[in-house]
Symmetry: C2
Subunit: 353 residues, 2 copies
């Protein structure tokens, strides 16, 4: 009876503040390693993170922000207990989202939540954020780590990321720059990036019954390796082109594929033509189409099909832009064109893979 | 056999893009209703949200950001299927976090994730964000809504929020302003705000075996009503004081209670004395202490004890500040003082409730 009425503590409720505090110390060190920008005024620990709003010689600076998650790619990470890359997926995804507006990133904040953190898990997750932030010159200036028993099932966790970047208003990319005779230039993805993972796992692990360490023709490493390939960041290859007047708009090919994402940067009265014969769809996608089976139209509205970024460029400058991207190692290719018509994607070429 | 090999779609994998798209339309309208600030340049739908970095006559503008979640308060919301207030909790929490640095909010972004969204759930959740943003004059400029079967259990969901505000560097509040003879002024909370919910639910629903609609002496409405009371936003009452030189620092009393949060704004060599006799702890907290039981020290390092915001103000100006807050309807009271000593909280007064 005495024990039954022993005083309750927060720890009894499944929350170990001290455990999280210990993890947060090493998180703080990782974050500090990304604070190369002198505009970062504080580290973590304060209630808010400070970043000096000094944008050099920009005439009309505009903040560009985006929030995102990793989606069910996290399930693949959990399946093979590899937690140190999904943070990089999220950082790169967020960078690409503001990059297509014409912005360069300033700072990033993360949200990490789970029912229970196994030892080392927070550190592994945050190392992914910190690695990508350091690599891309983005300050990881804050975040929230929450251990919430009952809200997440055993082993369940989630990540969200928030990015803020800046552009000079005159350099903003988008529909108002687009012309109906623009050329579409594609840049290769490294894999599925961060979308379509619910369907991909259904195909590989349920329908085809493959183990995560199974291999398939044309894939480097296992199926899990291919699925966990880090979302490519296009900042380094595209940054030199951001002030090029021939670059009109860019679409980051995420959830919804070409079908949903290309129209997001088109004005009314302009449609896109994607030539399915213009590039070889990587084996990872071809395997899914076959093993599902998944029809080509469904593939194109779900996956990036090996093309993570699509640029709309002025036709007279297309060769020059492609050459510049080629030189930067971006692997560009002309994959279609714009045309007058319905604000949607029309596919040409063979529907097979 | 034919059916077994019928083509798979993204919807077969449990993801209904069209369903989410429909919800997002009404989300877009709610967000647009918060775009009163002419610096907001776009609505949702673009890859990134645009906000003009025009900070008027600030000499050295500094962006202040914070990321947060609602924590296991969401479990209470789920228990009683009330989804339209937790978004406001998160907005207000985020506003308070940057307010204590001396910043006023500019814009907010949300992350909403679940395994499956029941019809109307996304709309209810986002209405909470939009209502609070509209009320506080903050632009809800973007966000991410993710339906992720398999990653979240049936009925599980989570929210995260991200805020950006601004202050003029000379007006930044914090440890460097604090003096060892400062007076601590408290402002009442509306309830638990957004922390301590794992322990609170363990006490009320497990240990005491109460139903969510149970009533207890001194509580307005049911236990669930008391637990879901919206996190108070202190922006309106504190904004007029942000440039007052007598206001040295503020601590938002969140996870870790007084014990962990007050020291976050103290310099080395300065400690805080909290006088437990200075205010009456609201019945909600007293019930928990009794029903747990939960000892007072544990209460003070877990809950806000009825005080959601603590100000450190210059002693000679304390009466003036309290009078101004009184006039603004903030309900201020002197709750302690600073002193030379260890950077920690020392409690005085009776440990009972």
């Amino acid at each position: 009876m005495v024990e039954e009425n022993a005083p309750l503590t927060y720890k009894d409720a499944g929350v170990d503040i001290d455990g999280v505090t210990t993890a947060l110390k090493s998180v703080g060190q990782m974050a500090a390693s990304t604070h190369k920008d002198p505009r970062v005024l504080t580290g973590l620990g304060s209630f808010g993170a400070l970043f000096r709003a000094d944008f050099g010689d920009m005439r009309e600076p505009v903040l560009v922000s985006s929030a995102d998650g990793v989606g069910t790619k996290l399930l693949v990470a959990r399946r093979v207990k590899r937690f140190d890359t999904v943070g990089a997926d999220l950082v790169n995804h967020c960078i690409n989202d503001i990059l297509v507006m014409g912005a360069v990133p300033l700072f990033f904040m993360d949200y990490v939540a789970a029912g229970h953190f196994e030892p080392g898990m927070v550190e592994a997750l945050v190392s992914g954020f910190a690695d990508a932030c350091r690599e891309q010159g983005v300050a990881l200036i804050g975040g929230e780590t929450a251990e919430m028993p009952g809200l997440y099932g055993r082993g369940d966790f989630d990540l969200a990321g928030f990015i803020v970047g800046v552009l000079d208003r005159a350099d903003a990319l988008g529909p108002e720059r687009v012309r109906p005779d623009d050329v579409l230039v594609g840049l290769p993805s490294t894999g599925l990036h961060t979308n379509g993972y619910s369907l991909a796992q259904k195909v590989f692990f349920e329908k085809a019954g493959l183990a995560p360490d199974a291999t398939l023709p044309g894939l480097e490493g296992s199926v899990a390796d291919a699925l966990l390939a880090v979302h490519r960041c296009y900042l380094d290859v595209l940054r030199p082109l951001l002030k090029d007047p021939a670059l009109h708009a860019m679409a980051h090919i995420t959830g919804g594929g070409f079908t949903d994402n290309i129209p997001r940067v088109l004005p009314e009265g302009v449609g896109a033509v994607v030539d399915r014969d213009a590039w070889t769809v990587p084996p990872l996608f071809a395997h899914m189409a076959r093993l599902g089976p998944v029809e080509r139209d469904e593939m194109d509205r779900t996956f990036n099909m090996g093309v993570g970024m699509v640029l709309a460029v002025a036709r007279p400058d297309a060769d020059r832009i492609v050459a510049a991207l080629e030189q930067a190692g971006a692997g560009p290719f002309v994959m279609g064109r714009l045309e007058s018509g319905r604000r949607a994607v029309r596919y040409e070429g063979a529907p097979g893979l």
